[in-house]
């Protein structure tokens, strides 16, 4: 079920501002790909282009190709004219940089939101099961099992982020995009999320943006390094290689400087 993602010559604009330029890379199925790079180099922007969320920003534009290649060999050009962005987003889930639970919904409803909002009918016990499974996977179950009917906005920041992770995996997407999912979490929850990712990659394709080099080194199979030449210049992919190589002897000098903490 896990698809492979091929990106070719991707340019991403906000209005007339070119934020990311000329990205070409492949994301392997059933693996974790980490994206690292300095703040503002366009990691989030690139990630949002993968599930066609970039285009919902007014004025934002995409040029280039993103192709999803399923395990059975069927190929979908995500930006093809006959492709509905809604279908793309059903197959590619996302966890955002900032936690964004639905404030009007309870903890339970937040996890069930992917099904409920899409109008899916499901009997109560199956839904209960799904909610519990998703919350357990996100390492949140024990903290919220007694207040499933309380508003999701009443949780702590880190709990909200785990709630969002539970919400994203509840709809069982084929690809999971995670934008700094652990930046608001304590080390224990971070480990739990990393374990979860390792589990999920058996079936899913995972792309994670992180500022935490150890995390990238711990969990990912390959790592891509984004950089930007200067303020106001577009971000670009410097290199993408197996994680071991990136952290020991990368092809590019800039990568080596960045991962070893020498930059500027």
């Amino acid at each position: 079920m896990a698809p492979r993602i091929d990106v070719t010559d991707l340019d991403l604009y906000y209005g007339s501002f070119l934020a990311v330029q000329g990205v070409t890379l492949s994301i392997e199925p059933r693996s974790i790909t980490a994206l690292i790079g300095p703040s503002g180099c366009g990691k989030s922007t690139f990630l949002r282009a993968l599930n066609r969320l970039h285009e919902v920003v007014p004025g934002a534009r995409v040029e280039g190709k993103v192709v999803l290649e399923g395990s059975s060999g069927q190929v979908v050009d995500l930006y093809g004219s006959d492709v509905d962005p809604v279908d793309v987003r059903r197959r590619i889930g996302m966890v955002f940089q900032r936690p964004n639970p639905f404030p009007t919904m309870s903890v339970y409803d937040n996890v069930a939101a992917g099904l409920r909002l899409n109008g899916a009918r499901m009997n109560r016990s199956a839904l209960d099961d799904l909610v519990e499974r998703s919350l357990r996977a996100a390492n949140l179950w024990t903290e919220v099992k007694d207040r499933l009917d309380r508003p999701g906005g009443g949780l702590s920041g880190g709990q909200q982020q785990r709630l969002c992770i539970a919400r994203a995996i509840a709809v069982e997407p084929e690809v999971l995009l995670m934008d700094e999912p652990c930046s608001a979490l304590d080390p224990i929850s971070t480990l739990a999320i990393e374990d979860l990712m390792t589990e999920l990659k058996e079936h899913f394709t995972i792309v994670i943006v992180t500022h935490n080099m150890q995390q990238a080194a711990r969990v990912s199979e390959s790592t891509g390094f984004f950089n930007l030449a200067g303020p106001g210049r577009p971000g670009h992919l410097v290199e993408i290689n197996p994680t071991g190589k990136i952290f020991s002897n990368p092809d590019n000098r800039a990568t080596e400087d960045y991962v070893s903490g020498r930059f500027g």
Partner: protein, 360 residues
């Protein structure tokens, strides 16, 4: 901002001098007393020179302010004195702003209370000459016509606001925004004449219908609903919409199930305030609905009575002796104000009850 939280630099000050200079402060009661004394002196001055109450208050406020400033300056220094001066001016401005409001409320309550009895609320003006009679038909007429106006303008207004915030781009959005802004400024009599002309096309000249009044009120109400609903919808963070999109939820479902529920409290408030804005309109109802003495609750069948128009006719055509009708007019005005207050209160309640809670 950052300077406010920066810790004070550590400077080596010899112990003993390390304390704030003590300042003499006037007590609260003494500044208030000074101001009051100034007020009284001003009043006395006005009485001596034989001028009216307005001048007396003016003299008093000036004298009181000067007294507080001078004393404070000599005791507390310049900075505190300036603070007290500004406080005096602000309080005086507040007092001036409250005068018309309190005066109006007092007048309406004192004159309207005379006929605020059971009869007013359970009898119409059918066959009434002189004493008795009431505004039963007008109260119900106002409720029916305002409700009908809400039925027309709430869907149109909310959908327009949703279009402007969620879908609108470029020229069309700019054009609609411009039109709505223009509509906000339409004089109410023009709205009335428009509705009258519209219904005259179908029913001939001289037509008087409750629904025509509702249409006229809608013309006034729609722009208010659109503008305030637009502001409320804009407050819904883009992140929530994106969270929903990322779950593969189509845009229309996102709007119906995420955006609108998140802002439902604000939308309810917007509708209530728009209703409060039109419930007391007189001119458009005068030309579209007219007035009757009996109770007519069918907006599709002839003239109806409404509170503002009822008050208008009781006041301008009181008959003889005029006292009874004029009393009824004041009571109608009082009921109308109560209605507006009730709507405002409802708006607040809606805002409070439906706001997304974050209780743990």
């Amino acid at each position: 901002m950052s300077t406010a939280i920066r810790p004070a630099p550590v400077i080596d000050i010899p112990t003993g001098t390390r304390q704030l200079p003590t300042r003499r402060r006037l007590r609260r009661s003494s500044t208030a007393g000074l101001y009051l004394a100034g007020l009284l002196a001003g009043g006395a001055l006005a009485a001596l020179s034989g001028s009216g109450i307005v001048l007396a208050a003016g003299y008093g406020a000036v004298l009181g302010t000067v007294a507080v400033y001078v004393v404070s300056r000599s005791v507390e220094g310049r900075r505190t004195a300036t603070d007290r001066l500004v406080t005096c001016v602000v309080v005086a401005a507040f007092g001036i702003a409250m005068v018309p409001l309190v005066w109006l409320l007092w007048t309406v309550v004192s004159k309207g209370a005379r006929r605020l009895d059971g009869t007013f609320f359970d009898s119409s003006m059918l066959g009434i000459v002189g004493p008795g009679g009431g505004g039963y038909h007008a109260v119900l007429g106002t409720v029916v016509i305002t409700a009908l106006a809400a039925v027309i303008s709430v869907p149109i207004g909310l959908l327009t606001a949703i279009y402007l915030v969620e879908y609108g781009t470029g020229r069309l959005k700019a054009a609609i925004t411009f039109l709505v802004d223009t509509m906000t400024g339409i004089p109410s009599i023009v709205a009335g004449l428009f509705a009258y002309a519209l219904f005259a096309v179908f029913f001939g000249p001289g037509v008087r219908l409750g629904v025509a009044g509702a249409v006229a009120l809608s013309v006034l109400m729609i722009p208010v609903v659109v503008r305030s609903a637009e502001e409320v919808l804009k407050l819904v963070p883009a992140e929530l919409r994106e969270a929903s999109y990322a779950l593969g939820v189509p845009k229309w479902r996102t709007i119906v199930k995420v955006v609108v529920p998140t802002s439902i409290a604000g939308l309810g408030t917007a509708v209530m305030l728009a209703l409060a804005r039109v419930v007391g309109e007189t001119a458009p109802l005068l030309v579209t609905v007219g007035i009757t003495n009996g109770t007519n609750l069918n907006p599709f069948d002839g003239r109806m009575a409404t509170l503002p128009v009822f008050a208008y006719y009781q006041l301008t055509q009181p008959g003889f002796p005029p006292g009874f009708a004029i009393d009824r007019a004041w009571t109608a005005a009082l009921v109308l104000i109560a209605l507006v207050m009730a709507l405002d209160l409802a708006a607040r309640l809606i805002g409070r009850c439906f706001a997304p809670s974050t209780r743990r």
